[in-house]
Amino acid sequence: MYIKIKNNHIEFIKSANPYLIFATIFAFVIGLYYSLFQSPPDYIQGDSMRIMYIHVPSAWFALMTYSILAGSCVLWFITRNPLFNVVARSIAQVGMVFTLMSLITGSIWGKPTWGVWWVWDARLTSMLILFFLYIAYIFLWQAISNKELASKISAALAIIGFINIPVIKFSVDWWNTLHQPASISKLSAPSIDVSMLIPLFIMTAACFLFLVTVSLIRFRLVLIENKMLRTSSL
């Protein structure tokens, strides 16, 4: 399972870049149109629940990105294929941004619905811890001067931090706290109306496209960084 990155792969990623950017912008425009104009306001929370359309996708991708990060670190340790390390390093910062965004938008959403900006309940706190795990992963890599060692060390840390992900996922079910449980967990009958589901899924797709676009840009960045470190021209 040794995948080698060749020049034509990078050329392909480079050529796909403008299309991806265009698709991301297009998806966000459509998603904004649906989430701000086309969807009805919630009958309890009113228009403030429109924040959900950006809060929920960013929280999902914060968790998914960390799972990919930890998974690729595990695969890197198993297969010794440096591609996985590059993937982990290129995806980490996007995840950090999504985590921060879900925290901020959630906090803004919390003010009109709960009456406070922040509650110290299990899900919010574990999300905050996830943000610090991302920071630890990114900045530990920068702090260690021997970069090969730094990758191994920060990968080990990312794998240990994965313990937090199930805690976030099930914290609303384990502890009965203020944060509402997931509405779309049951695939057959989600407890949310279709008119709200459509903008949510468009925004999710848009966030996914953003994730892919920026991670591919960072992928090229990390590859160049690696080459420069190898020739020690940085």
Partner: protein, 51 residues
């Protein structure tokens, strides 16, 4: 139009959260693009020197 901007009384919350979200996504994207350009420039310069 005013009804849309008002957001049923939740205008500050909705618009500020959307604003912060898209602003930081765009800023993050631009930072990465400019970093990539910068690194490519430096890399090409050093490659030419080695050759």
């Amino acid at each position: 139009m005013n009804e849309l901007l008002d957001m049923g009384g939740y205008a500050i919350f909705v618009w500020s959260s959307y604003g912060i979200f898209f602003f930081s996504l765009i800023i993050f994207f631009l930072i990465n693009i400019s970093n990539l350009r910068k690194y490519e420039k430096i890399f090409n310069k050093t490659k030419n020197k080695i050759e």
